[in-house]
């Protein structure tokens, strides 16, 4: 993998580099941004914000609730027992099972969505610098077109405090 990237000490300089890259004609989707913390106060920290996670959580909840209802109703009617004169299928106690299963479904669906949408796809991408851990913000371009590297280095190097690396 080839890459050109700059390491920036703060959000302002990283945002400048991000803006300059776009002004230089690099598409937003081709810009790699890495930071040690969420940078939602800056534009570059708000890329890829759209997510279906809430909907998947609701779907997981619905599936969980259906599973809870099915488990309680099918088993109670299949193995009928008399408990304190209650009906074989008693709604009040079954609501507890349905509630717990709803929450279980919502939680597991949320985590599954996180893993599938944000963690697994990143396994193939390799641009990384351990200095990000120390608080530096990385703005770069992976696999830039041949011949564009000197221009990108100049663009990334212009904000204050930038350190540009090419790998």
């Amino acid at each position: 993998m080839k890459a050109v990237y700059g390491l920036y000490p703060d959000g302002q300089s990283a945002q400048q580099a991000f803006n300059r890259l776009r002004a230089a004609g690099v598409a937003t989707r081709d810009i790699t941004v890495l930071s040690a913390q969420p940078m939602e106060d800056f534009e570059f920290g708000n890329l890829d914000k759209a997510t279906w996670m809430w909907w998947f959580a609701c779907l997981g909840g619905l599936l969980g609730m259906s599973a809870g209802f099915g488990l309680a109703s099918l088993t109670e009617t299949s193995w009928p027992m008399n408990v304190g004169g209650m009906p074989v299928f008693a709604w009040w106690p079954n609501l507890i099972i349905m509630f717990e299963m709803t929450m279980f479904g919502a939680i597991t669906a949320t985590v599954a969505t996180l893993v599938v949408s944000a963690l697994l796809p990143n396994r193939s991408r390799t641009l990384y610098d351990p200095e990000v851990t120390e608080g530096k913000i990385l703005i770069g371009v992976e696999n830039p077109p041949d011949g564009s590297i000197p221009d990108l280095e100049r663009t990334l190097g212009s904000p204050l405090g930038a350190r540009v690396k090419t790998v």
Partner: protein, 451 residues
């Protein structure tokens, strides 16, 4: 007040992971010995039978069920408090959340162990699981014990995930700061975390959803634990107040457990720059509120029973107020109400030491509260032929002590392999959004904001 830089945050919080002192091994040996003693007691009980415990007719629920309720209560420290503080975006939560979430997971694991210990024959524990059999045990979804199974498992799963998700970025930090095998292990645990905006956003959204989901689950868990009692026709158990009363008590004891854990971590891991007196003060105030709420519930429960004047209930009432259980009852009142009220109500005493003393009092008081809910009513049921006493035996005492040691052991081991304060959340707190910065006043200088 100093604001540590990002490299310093890394160094301070990764130090316990990368360096090991003799104290660590000493603590492991000490707590390990207690846990071993507890295991010996448990295996003795399995070998010799339940006769070596103090559980006999009519008091079949003793220390084990007390511990079960107590530890499930302690588990409310973490996930619930952490989730609430996350949702209200309380800035001071940042160094506190992980300490709290860890308590939840380990306390739940320990609590869930007690039904197994109480079974006497733990190899038959699978009878609790919902699976079809000719015994017709499992389809009984009308039993609170089956509700326990679902509630505790949902809460445990949710709490483990709620703890693990925000650890992923910190695993990446450890990966970057270590070498060799450790780097490989933490690299695998970091799940390819790089810190892209997409990853941060998804993580924060997931934490938000989890926080919303986990709060009702936490409330339901202790309500359902209270149903184990309130659904039974036993004097002073069959009451509608038990649900909220148990939840309030659980949060109360959970906060106390959290304060003690934070004070120990602060002292031994030298986290003075991260766990400030203001964190203890804020938790102390929460503990005061919960203490008052607890007192309100106890007053309600007692007054209604007293006015009802039902003979069986009054027998239990007087047993705890002025007869054999009175010393325990009044110790509970002092520990749970008087001590927190004095120490947390008077600002001068709301120091770290004051908070820790009050917390130890609350832990003792809440354990006694659980004991007094479980044992006295079982020894004085509706008919005099079912009156009896309970005397805990060495096996039960050893197992109880071992669970406290197990909690400490698990906590020490966790702090050895995972940063006990969330590094990325702390860093995020160092750079608040400009929109969150309030105008400076004499009372609230800007320097206080990140707390």
């Amino acid at each position: 007040m100093t604001h540590p830089s990002e490299p310093r945050i890394n160094n301070d919080l990764l130090r316990p992971l990368l360096l090991t002192s003799w104290r660590f091994y000493l603590l492991i040996a000490l707590f390990g010995a207690f846990v071993l003693a507890g295991l010996v007691a448990w295996f003795s009980q399995m070998y010799f039978g339940f006769g070596i415990s103090g559980l006999r007719w009519p008091v079949y629920w003793g220390f084990y069920i007390t511990n079960f309720v107590f530890w499930i209560g302690i588990s409310h420290a973490g996930t619930l408090i952490s989730a609430i503080l996350r949702l209200v975006n309380a800035g001071w939560r940042r160094p506190v959340t992980r300490c709290a979430e860890v308590i939840t997971v380990f306390a739940l694991m320990i609590g869930a162990l007690f039904p197994l210990i109480h079974l006497g024959r733990p190899w038959l524990a699978f009878w609790l699981f919902p699976y079809p059999s000719e015994r017709l045990i499992w389809p009984n979804f009308r039993s609170p014990l089956v509700w326990d199974f679902f509630a505790i498992n949902t809460y445990l799963t949710g709490s483990v995930l709620f703890l693990l998700l925000p650890i992923i970025p910190d695993f990446a930090v450890v990966r970057d700061k270590s070498t060799g095998l450790r780097r490989k292990i933490y690299g695998a645990l970091a799940l390819g975390w790089r810190g892209t905006p997409k990853q941060w956003h998804r993580l924060e959204t997931a934490m938000q959803i989890m926080a919303i989901a986990i709060i009702p689950v936490a409330v339901s868990v202790h309500t359902i634990v209270s149903f184990d009692f309130s659904m039974a026709p036993v004097p002073m158990w069959n009451t509608a107040i038990f649900g909220p009363y148990f939840v309030a008590g659980a949060i109360f004891s959970g906060i106390a457990g959290l304060i003690i854990a934070m004070a120990v971590l602060r002292k031994f891991l030298h986290l003075e720059d991260y766990l400030h007196p203001v964190h203890f003060e804020n938790l102390g105030k929460l503990m005061l509120v919960m203490g008052l709420l607890w007192g309100y519930f106890v007053f309600n429960e007692r007054l209604v029973t007293y006015y009802g004047n039902e003979p069986a209930e009054m027998a239990v009432f007087w047993r705890t107020q002025r007869e054999s259980f009175a010393p325990l009852y009044w110790t509970m009142v002092i520990c749970n109400f008087v001590l927190p009220l004095v120490l947390m109500g008077i600002r001068r005493f709301r120091t770290i030491t004051g908070c820790v003393i009050a917390s130890f009092g609350v832990i003792i008081g809440m354990w006694l509260e659980r004991f007094l809910i479980v044992v006295p009513p079982l020894g004085a049921k509706y008919l005099p032929y079912s009156f009896g006493i309970y005397r805990p035996q060495p096996a039960e005492i050893a197992i109880t002590a071992a669970t406290f040691a197990a909690m400490c052991l698990l906590y020490v081991l966790f702090a050895k392999v995972v940063p006990i304060i969330s590094i990325w959340e702390l860093k995020a707190g160092e750079h608040p959004s400009p929109s969150l910065i309030p105008p400076a006043t004499e009372e609230h200088p800007l320097g206080e904001l990140h707390l």
